[in-house]
Amino acid sequence: MSSSHLTRFHKWLLQSPPIEWFDLRLRDLMIGALSQGPIPQHIAMVMDGNRRYARQKRIEVAEGHNRGFEALAQMLEVCYRCGVKVLTVYAFSVENFKRSRYEVDTLMSLMKSKLTQLSEHGELFERYGASVRVLGQRELVAPDVLEAIDRAVDLTKNNTDAILNICFPYASRNEITIAIRDTVNDWSQPIRERERTFSQSHIESHIRLRNISNDASKKQDQYSPAPSAISDTEDSIAESTLPVTPADYTELTTLKPSLTYPDPESIDANTLSEHMFITSNPPVDLFIRTSGVERFSDFLLWQAHEKTDIKFVDCMWPDFDLWQLIPILVEWQWKRRKAAADERVARRGMRLPKKSD
């Protein structure tokens, strides 16, 4: 009893205008302060914990997902205002299709309605200068949802200030597989020789002509070393080689080799990176997963296994807001600044012995 009164009082207090006004100002201030330091250019988020949140709060699962979308909208705003360029979120995994039919349908219709809303308010999205991209295996999505996706993506594609990547339905192993397949596909296309104004056979016949003339001149040298004779011989050879050239042409056409392919050795990690759905440009600086599960769960394996800072947060996604993000960002900034300072010291250290030398 008393606790419910207390929460009601708490809520009333938090909703009172002066407190709310103060809260808004505080948020603005914090975002302004944070943007003074380095800001991760690309943040990836696994929005995990909507179902557990719903269970804890004793609300419907669908409502939990709804709150999750609200949290995403807030996060988007915060990230955008801090200066994050790309935000990649894991909205739906290919594995999630194994959940109950009802839940999958709810998620799909939620996605559809949100994207439809987005296209209705396309002009507002333009204010943020943000473009939406939906990445993943399209063939798994129902056509009506696809239509909504395409409309929203098309509407915002000209905005360049920020990018929101929605991974829906996505699995990193599939992404890698598709990247490998596409690369193999590219490499198994024969190179089409470009039409150039110079023909190789022509040049070859020229070289041959020159060689023959050289040989001939050498032979000539043996007979008559007099330089005056050379001009005569050149003429005669030019005449004699003329019937040779057509034969050369026929030889070349019959010898036309089998198809040429690009060299497989020219494939490297960058080639594969370029074939991924989510390009590493800018590279993923920060990987956040909520709900305390400490796993990648098939998300951004390729993009986040090198220098990305990985943070597992013990908080359900709908509860994740600015106040949860700030400690992570501050820690990230602190580490970056420290690393930069260490590097500076190391560089000075490198320079010092040289001076003493």
Binding site: Q36, R173, I180, V184, E265, H305, I310, K335
Partner: protein, 328 residues
């Protein structure tokens, strides 16, 4: 950010829409950034009010500095606090190189990983030889702990791949460490690395009968040494091979599936580890094989920089989803 009661309205509207598009936009209007033309206008105004802009940026900068000073103090305190508590619990939980004690520590756990992976780093402060020695000793210690509790597979990731050049030495060091834990008889040991054709098949290839008598039936540990080459480069190599096959019409690009890649990768490198323990203060994979880490549980201890028994043990507890209580 919309106010609480507005959020309520919004949620209500989702269930049964009663607001029109225009009204919805009107609710959001005050919280949106300005449109392009308005932004230009405000910039012009700001240019006219340099004092206000200067004040705002000064306040932001001061606040930023303050936050970072406070965070710095907090981070350092936390670091020392963790160091002290770790020292104390390291004494309480010391394994005394006794397999029985280590086994007792994990007795209550419902499950143990069948494949454990660790990321180790070659220390940059020391010179190469002593860094190598420390690394070898760490590998040997972790192997011994795993052998004690019966984890059959341990993979060690070290970015530079130094260890791969010293497979026989690694085998010798780890075997010696196992002897110091188990006494005369120790579990059999196999050390290998991916793509190295002549891997040292530990106890069998050495000098047969004598080693066999030593190993007995105390179990088996296979130790796999990984480096940055086994990550992206392996996938790139696979792509090259597949591309060559496709060029010679031995394979259609459509035949490439994740099952195929998975089979190839797990055969040539390793399968998916169940638990990955980092002995670093933060989680950074540093090029760890990406394909295999899909469902691996990742464990690290904040502020820890050393390879310690307790971190390893906590990782196992975390994996089994068990609470760790003080004392034995």
């Amino acid at each position: 950010m919309p106010l609480e009661h507005e959020t309520e309205v919004f949620r209500h509207d989702l269930k049964s829409p009663f607001l029109t598009e225009k009204e919805r936009e009107a609710v959001l209007q005050p919280y949106l950034p300005k449109s392009r033309s308005e932004q230009k206008r405000t910039k012009a105004i700001q240019r006219k009010k340099p004092v206000r802009r200067f004040l705002a940026s000064t306040i932001h900068f001061l606040l930023f500095t303050l936050i970072h000073i406070l965070y710095s103090i907090y981070a350092r305190t936390r670091k020392y606090y963790h160091a002290v508590t770790r020292r104390i619990s390291a004494i309480l939980y010391y394994h005394h190189r006794t397999p029985e004690l280590i086994r007792k520590d994990v007795k209550g756990l419902k499950r143990l990983p069948k494949h454990l992976s660790v990321i180790l780093e070659l220390s940059k402060q020391e010179n190469e030889m002593s860094a190598m020695e420390t690394l070898l000793d760490n590998v040997a210690e972790i192997s011994a702990w795993c052998a004690c509790v019966g984890i059959p597979m341990l993979s060690v990731y070290e970015k530079t791949g130094m260890l791969k050049n010293y497979i026989p030495t690694t085998h010798k060091t780890v075997a010696a460490k196992l002897h110091s834990y188990f006494g005369l008889k120790r579990p059999s040991l196999q050390v290998r690395a991916p793509h190295i054709p002549s891997f040292l098949n530990g106890d069998i290839s050495e000098d047969g009968s004598i080693v066999d008598a030593q190993t007995s039936n105390l179990g088996h540990l296979s130790l796999l040494l990984l480096s940055a080459d086994d990550g992206r480069n392996t996938l790139v190599d696979l792509t090259k091979t597949l591309a060559e096959m496709a060029q010679h019409n031995k394979l259609l690009p459509e035949d490439i599936s994740s099952q195929l890649i998975d089979a190839e990768i797990s055969e040539s490198v390793m399968g998916e580890p169940e638990l990955l323990i980092l002995f670093a203060p933060e989680i950074k994979l540093d090029g760890y094989p990406p394909w295999q880490i899909r469902l691996t549980e990742i464990f690290h201890e904040p502020d820890n920089t050393e390879v310690e028994y307790l971190v390893w043990l906590k990782g196992l507890y975390r994996f089994a989803r068990a609470e760790m209580r003080f004392g034995r």
